[in-house]
Amino acid sequence: MPATFSSKEIAAADERCSRGVSVEIKSVSIALGGRTVLENFDVEISTGEFVAIVGRSGCGKSTLLRSVVGLETPQAGAITLGNVAEHNGKPDIRVMFQDSRLLPWRRILPNVMLGLDPALIPHARKVLAQVGLAERADDWPAALSGGQRQRVALARALVHDPNLLLLDEPLGSLDALTRIEMQQLIEDIWRNRGFTAMLVTHDVAEAVSLADRVILIEGGRVALDEVVNLPRPRTRGSARFAALEERILGRVLQRRSAF
């Protein structure tokens, strides 16, 4: 299903525009089950930036994301969120996981409303309309397709008007077409709201089409930090896009051939 709204409409529909927070990850080391995943890891993400994190399976990119939201605790180092004072001391961080993680026993609207004041129902309906699922508010999650469920998960994250949105391979299990639609949707909403975004993905093309910066993690460290200097909206067919994708992909695969 195509997104049935323009970015202008999104801006009009949502008066509560937020600003992002900066993220500073400084000399972070994380070991899981005795194995070092991240070692002395440094990354700085500025306010409102869209950063994609790529790398091979098990390189620690998901662990990095999980440690930002506090699902993993670093053994060493610190993760600091900037402009904390501006956001009443506690910036709002939301995560979108690879699986939608909707509550199967709640209908769609109550799922979007999770942890929210009932007074915000109209706002939740509005956000649900932004992701194109207004008419599915009273359905059970089991009745939705995988792509629709991910859009509900996106609405659930956006309804809190987050300062930082963490995307942990949210489109990994979707088919190619749904995936491109979702990428456009995420880009539109990000451009209108201006939150900071961190996207973990396997798909280099996805990283290049969405992110301001692509970071490659290898051996627990930053192996590549590439600024994507392409005008938005980006067209995948362009020569510069293809060249950049080729270069990053080449760098990802380089290590494997060395083994």
Partner: protein, 271 residues
């Protein structure tokens, strides 16, 4: 048009097929009933051994007209439900406790697992010694028997709640009671209801035994009393009553599942 004809033809040929499928499960019981009635009236089956179905029906009508039957049914049902409420309630509470808190599991689970291996009916001599043949004896036995299936399935249900959903709930700021209400309880509910359904069956089994051994009223008492006077028809009425009440309890449990688990495609009724 051709297609329409084909469709209606398929429909009419399907109808008797569906009917036959519905009737099929009842062929054997009805056949048994006919053989039973025939052998009784032919004198092959003496009535002191097994009464004829007609005698059972007339004895049922007689007993229900006098009100005696309903009095016994009421007493037994109240006993069963009271025992279920006490045992099931305790099982649910303790299961929630040991399922949610690790120290409670460490403290209680070993004890409960040991007690679980004692068949409740093996306690009858002791129970009679403790409570006499009072109401509390039957309540105790039913409650004890019903406790374990509810406890074990509640514990298991809580432990098998999807980790991913719990993690998601925490990132959405849910904790304590909110996390419990939104994620843990609904996630454990399918398993809890399996325990409830199992308990409802067990509830009648234990009550039957308890009532036949020591009671002054109830279906079990009625059946045992009939044995004294060789009233085989009353005995069969009592036995059939248990079957019906057991089936009713199962239907109730199924209805609960259909209502509470209606979000689950496996429990949704065809629309």
């Amino acid at each position: 048009m051709n297609q329409g004809q084909k469709k209606s033809a398929a429909k009419s040929s399907l109808r008797p097929g569906v009917l036959a499928k519905r009737a099929l499960p009842w062929v054997v019981p009805i056949l048994l009933l006919i053989v039973w009635q025939w052998s009784s009236s032919a004198g092959i089956l003496p009535s002191r051994f097994l009464p004829s179905p007609r005698a059972v029906v007339s004895s049922f009508i007689e007993l229900s007209a006098s009100g005696e039957l309903w009095m016994h049914v009421r007493v037994s049902t109240l006993r069963a439900l009271a025992g279920f409420a006490v045992g099931g309630g305790l099982g649910l509470l303790l299961g929630l406790l040991t399922g949610s808190l690790h120290w409670a599991e460490t403290l209680l689970d070993t004890t409960i697992q040991m007690v679980r291996n004692i068949p409740p009916l093996a306690l009858i001599p002791l129970v009679i010694l403790w409570f006499g043949i009072d109401e509390s004896a039957k309540l105790f036995l039913v409650a004890l028997g019903v406790f374990f299936p509810v406890y074990i399935n509640t514990f298991h249900g809580i432990r098998s709640v999807d980790r991913g959903l719990l993690e998601m709930g925490r990132t959405y700021g849910l904790s304590g009671w909110a996390l419990y209400r939104e994620i843990i309880l609904p996630g454990a509910l399918p398993s809890i209801l399996v325990g409830v359904r199992f308990s409802l069956g067990l509830m009648w089994v234990i009550l039957i035994v308890a009532e036949t051994i020591s009671a002054r009223s109830g279906i079990g008492y009625m059946t045992m009393n009939a044995r004294e006077f060789m009233q085989t028809d009353v005995m069969v009425v009592g036995i059939l009553l248990y079957a019906i009440l057991g089936k009713l309890a199962d239907l109730l449990a199924k209805a609960l599942e259909r209502y509470w688990l209606r979000w689950n495609p496996a429990y949704q009724t065809a629309r």
